[in-house]
């Protein structure tokens, strides 16, 4: 069976006139199984976000093959959902209208989309907020609307670009657990980009560690711990060991990138 999302030898090089080409991503190979939750961890500038843009079809690769459901990604596809770092809600639309935005763009049947939206909003604890406007919600609630919106057209793959980075630490933890709950209910294939190790360990089945400049995969770690996991899970020996392993890889990557700084 084909992977839900597959990168094979994918490279992305930015070329601009008068400057030497920059390797954003070099020779990435990664296969994500159907229903798998993969976290991509790496320092800033390691090409994590470029990876998502490539999978979304918003960025053209320089080399390699990207496939979703066995089909080459050349342009955006309707069966992919995306969550950005900021909620990116449209302030002139109500919560429900924002969630239905993909249905409007994709011309999906309104009635079915509304039913799905209402169910998802309830699942995300946003029942009763359907007719509110984004400015009436807290940051965490806005991001939950953003996640629900990404799921409303029932995509196969959900791509998340540091979705909780703009939230405070407590909201962030609550949101992680929320996401796990939604994922367990809907079982989407998720690629979750983050620079937060605990978040990755808490949420993912698999953690891919990337190095910066050029962005390459330097480790691919399994996290088979049972679900649902709560915040206490992070203080268990297994999770602590996994976090340590990730940190070690990141430190080594950092040392390769900037040998002068990392000796301390």
């Amino acid at each position: 069976m084909a992977s839900a999302l597959e990168f094979r030898n994918v490279s992305l090089t930015y070329r601009s006139a008068g400057r030497s080409p920059v390797d954003a991503v070099r020779a990435i190979s990664l296969a994500v199984d159907d229903g798998e939750f993969v976290a991509v961890v790496g320092p800033s500038g390691c090409g994590k976000s470029s990876l998502l843009k490539l999978a979304l079809g918003l960025q053209t690769k320089s080399d390699g093959v990207i496939r979703i459901d066995g089909k080459d990604v050349e342009r955006p596809r309707p069966d992919v959902g995306v969550v950005f770092q900021s909620p990116v809600l449209l302030p002139w639309r109500t919560v429900l209208q924002n969630v239905l935005f993909p249905a409007d763009i994709l011309h999906l049947p309104r009635e079915q989309a509304t039913r799905n939206a209402t169910d998802l909003l309830a699942l995300a604890g946003l029942q009763g907020f359907e007719q509110k406007y984004p400015y009436e919600l807290s940051g965490g609630m806005q991001q939950r609307v953003g996640i629900v919106r990404a799921l409303v057209h029932d995509p196969r793959v959900l791509l998340m670009d540091e979705p909780f980075a703009a939230l405070d630490a407590l909201t962030r933890e609550a949101m992680s657990l929320e996401l796990q709950r939604i994922w367990m209910a809907r079982r989407k294939t998720i690629v979750f980009v983050t620079h937060n190790i605990s978040e990755a360990v808490l949420l993912a089945d698999r953690i891919v560690v990337m190095s910066a400049r050029p962005g390459r995969i330097i480790a691919d770690l399994a996290n088979p711990a049972s679900r649902p996991r709560d915040i206490q899970f992070l203080s268990q020996p297994f999770a602590a060991a996994l976090s340590g392993q990730i940190r070690e890889h990141l430190t080594r990557a950092f040392a390769m990138q900037a040998p002068g700084i990392a000796t301390s």
Binding site: L56, P76, V82, L90, P91, W92, L106, Y133, Y135
Partner: protein, 274 residues
Amino acid sequence: MSETEPSAASLSTVATEERVGLWQRTRPALDVMTSIVVVLLLWEGLVRLFDVQPFIFPAPSAVLRSLWLGLASGRYVAALGVTLTEILSGAVIGSLAGLIFAVAMVSSRLVNRMLYPWVVGIQTIPKVAIAPLMLVWFGFGIESKVLIVALTAMFPVMINTISGLNATEHDQIALVQALCGNRMQILRHVQIPAALPYIFAGLNTAIVLAVIAAIVGEFVGARAGIGYLILQANFALDLPAVFSLLTLLGTLGVLLSLGMREIERRVCFWNRRS
């Protein structure tokens, strides 16, 4: 709020606080009223004291009398109708043209390059200078005035709409693109709504300029309208009439501007708190 949630303070303190709240709320309006009344009284007093002739500088009482006579006879009302028609139809035509040009220029680099020199060129010419030309082409009727108003109103709307359409958040556009949305959908669902506060900034400028343009047009040549009456009254040295017409014109401008702001408040309701 101290009024809605009184603390454990004694009743007399609460009452004082309420009085202070009321005073603070009505204070700005009261200041404005006081200023108007004082200036008018001073004006009236000075005119009477030095016995200034009405054809040099009329007293407020004379202006008010003239205003009442003009309104009661229906002359001012008819003129107001003409000028208001010129302003509103010109502003609507000009704003629509500005919107369409802006969308075309933002959507296509080719259109942008072709239109830009003309836009800048025509914009730098004062519309007053074009007014006589419009008269030659479109006559003394309402059409020439509507066209002058439209030309004047077009530019602020166009310039503001262009910056609004270009100021859309990049991620909002990426969201539509990631959902396979086309250029029309980006424009319709994201760029135009996001540009609305900018568009209204343009419309607010346009409506004020439209009043000026209509009067300028009537000054250059007309058979009816407030500007036409002002010229007539001026020739007749009927200064109370000139002043009363100016008062009427000022009120009209303020009302149009306030009306536009009210529409903006309702349309861009989501922009108030951001």
